[in-house]
């Protein structure tokens, strides 16, 4: 159809009133009279609601009765309504990519409510631009690609084990890769779990037993992913195991690599003996505390919520309150003070734990970050920010609540798989609200503390959620990709400089040997059509379907012209 003769192009323009949402602010009659005069436009119709059943059937009727081969709907936003109108075109026998939408509501009538004349002029320009694009549209076919029915889970902590079990129980083959000799992650170092106060080791053992005994799970401990390429449906992964490199293909990947605990070297006299972290406190509790310890001071936000690490680690307040309660269980007469900036005790159970701890006599003292506590040989000096005076607290043991920080492997994994990390080094989801367990790259999902400090409940919920997301392509067996992609429009022009390959955020380009020498090759299922390659190519060898250079040029030209 690119070579369709000019006179064969028959564009239908449907202009929507959207009740009074558009018709109340723009001159609809003027718009339709104007559209009729535009090149290639053979049919113009106004609809009360184009997306209603009546509106849709008018569009289909228009296509068939007037033999339209391009359709424009001037109405709301393509972000919500383009799929609907595209499928209406398809139902009337027109390739859905011969449809173009013009936004005259969200970005016109609604934002120029008091400027009827200028708003109408803008709508005319936008319709003229849409017509210019429509004339140059080309039919596209959806791209289908097979999915390897196998999942890779990286990280064998609680979130990774939960995700692996969930997928395996649905019947999918799972490979679980854990860097350490043992599964369990942080759970292995914790004594009891707030808020239920159950044994961390019991939970770990239960999960480990289920994972190791599962017929659908292949486990590689002491192992790491050390090479990766591919895209959703076909990720080719090299796993470095204790018995050599294993090359395995996967349809989907889950990241569950957790986080590490910050070691407060140089802060508050940290020595790992008398001045310790909460993680070291867990170990002492596990062993059983020395009954000689009578006075304990905990300091919150050590190394967090500061310039280097501006974030709240969320789990350390819960951990401090939990450990204070557990100390009380072992040494009932112990005096415990928790020096805090803000107590992060969200959720019903945590609030209850917090209240109980106060009832048990645990003291909470608010300090200001500009005047932090000072740890001395047998006491802690703190300026009580609420009372406005200094206090001296005897201390046999000082416990520092340090944050979870991004795992040291996060950078390497993000580079291997081309997935994003945030300014604190944690993995970054595709969208905060809409895609919280997905990466922007299709077919890769995340859960647990790898994303952001999580407690067990959140890590488990996210593990189940990520497994559920990952099972969508696995159960479908194939993926359909929007055919708005990069194409090597001028093969001769490509000099294989590799600039586009380096820039592509999705790993969708590679240099290949061809009969004409080395040329770039587009992996169409991996391409998202962002177009940065086409914009950057110094040779103008690449183009983007549906957003081709010549289409955009035509739209710019039409937009710059004056309405007649």
């Amino acid at each position: 159809m690119p070579d369709m003769k000019d006179e064969d192009i028959r564009i239908g323009v449907f202009i929507c009133h959207c009740g009074s949402n558009i018709a109340g602010y723009l001159d609809m009659e003027e718009l339709s009279e104007y559209a009729e005069k535009l090149p290639h436009v053979t049919f113009v119709q106004r609809n009360l609601y184009s997306c209603s059943e009546a509106g849709i059937s008018e569009i289909k009727k228009g296509i068939m009765e007037h033999d339209l081969n391009r359709v424009i709907v001037a109405s709301c936003t393509p972000r919500t309504h383009e799929p609907l109108f595209r499928s209406s075109c398809a139902e009337a026998g027109l390739n859905p990519y011969l449809f173009e939408m013009v936004n005259i509501r969200d970005q016109c009538s609604w934002v120029h409510m008091k400027e009827r004349e200028d708003g109408t002029d803008k709508a005319k320009d936008q319709i003229r631009m849409g017509v210019a694009k429509a004339a140059l549209l080309e039919p596209q076919e959806p791209i289908m690609s097979d999915v390897q029915i196998r999942a890779l889970v990286i990280g064998g902590g609680i979130s990774g084990m939960t995700a692996a079990l969930s997928l395996a129980n649905r019947g999918y083959e799972v490979v679980l890769v854990e860097k350490e000799k043992n599964l369990g992650g942080m759970l292995n170092q914790i004594y009891k779990l707030a808020p239920t106060m159950t044994d961390a080791s019991a939970l770990a053992e239960e999960k480990i037993r289920a994972v190791t005994g599962h017929p659908n799970i292949t486990l590689f401990t002491g192992s790491k992913v050390n090479a990766a390429q591919g895209f959703i449906g076909k990720y080719q992964i090299d796993i470095e195991t204790e018995s050599g490199i294993k090359k395995i293909d996967f349809g989907v990947i889950l990241i569950a690599t957790g986080a590490s605990v910050y070691t407060p070297e140089g802060l508050y006299g940290y020595d790992g003996q008398r001045i310790i972290t909460q993680l070291e406190m867990e170990r002492l509790l596990k062993k059983g505390l020395d009954q000689g310890i009578k006075n304990i001071v905990m300091i919150q936000c050590v190394g967090s919520r500061n310039e280097d690490r501006p974030y709240c680690s969320r789990i350390c307040c819960q951990t401090a309150v939990k450990n204070a309660m557990l100390i009380k269980n072992q040494i009932p007469e112990a005096k415990i003070s928790i020096l805090y900036r803000d107590m992060q005790m969200y959720g019903v159970e945590n609030e209850e734990l917090f209240r109980d701890s106060k009832a048990k006599g645990i003291r909470y003292i608010n300090y200001d970050s500009v005047q932090p506590p000072e740890v001395e040989s047998d006491k802690v000096r703190v300026y009580h920010a609420l009372l406005g005076r200094e206090m001296l607290l005897p201390a046999d043991l000082v416990v520092l609540s340090t944050p979870l920080i991004a795992h040291e492997d996060a950078v390497e994994i993000s580079q291997l798989l081309r997935i994003s990390i945030d300014e604190n080094g944690f993995f970054l989801e595709g969208h905060v609200k809409l895609r919280p367990l997905d990466f922007a790259t299709d077919g890769i999902f995340l859960c647990g503390s790898a994303h952001y400090p999580a407690n067990i409940r959140e890590a488990v919920a996210q593990g189940l959620g990520a497994a559920s997301r990952a099972s969508i392509p696995l159960s479908q067996g194939s993926v359909v990709v929007e055919p708005i992609i990069s194409v090597l429009a001028n093969e001769d022009a490509c000099i294989a400089c590799g600039l586009c390959v380096a820039l592509c955020p999705y790993g969708a380009l590679e240099i290949q040997k061809t009969e004409k020498g080395e040329k770039v090759h587009v992996i169409d299922v991996a391409c998202k059509g962002c177009g940065c390659c086409a914009a950057a190519c110094p040779q103008k060898a690449l183009d983007i379907t549906h957003f081709r250079d010549r289409q955009i040029f035509a739209v710019i030209e039409a937009g710059g012209a004056e309405a007649q």
Binding site: W110, H112, K528, A535, I544, D549, F553, I556, G559, G560
Partner: protein, 67 residues
């Protein structure tokens, strides 16, 4: 000047962020001057510098890239 200058601004908006933001400005009925002419792209990275030049040559007074 007797006639007020009304510029015509060629506006490229990324489908996923700036275009969505312009839509939500509409949903909130935020009013702004009707001087923009919008081209939606799948990413602001699609905007080839040549498009900017083309816009200025085609009669636009300025070019805005939102992404």
């Amino acid at each position: 000047m007797s006639k007020q200058f009304k510029p015509k601004i060629l506006t490229f908006l990324c489908n996923w962020c700036a275009y969505a933001a312009a839509d939500s400005a509409g949903v909130s009925r935020l009013q702004y001057p009707p001087t923009t002419r919008v081209i939606r792209t799948m990413c602001s990275a699609r905007v080839d510098p040549v498009f900017v030049v083309k816009g200025l040559k085609s009669g636009f007074d300025s070019v805005f890239v939102g992404g």
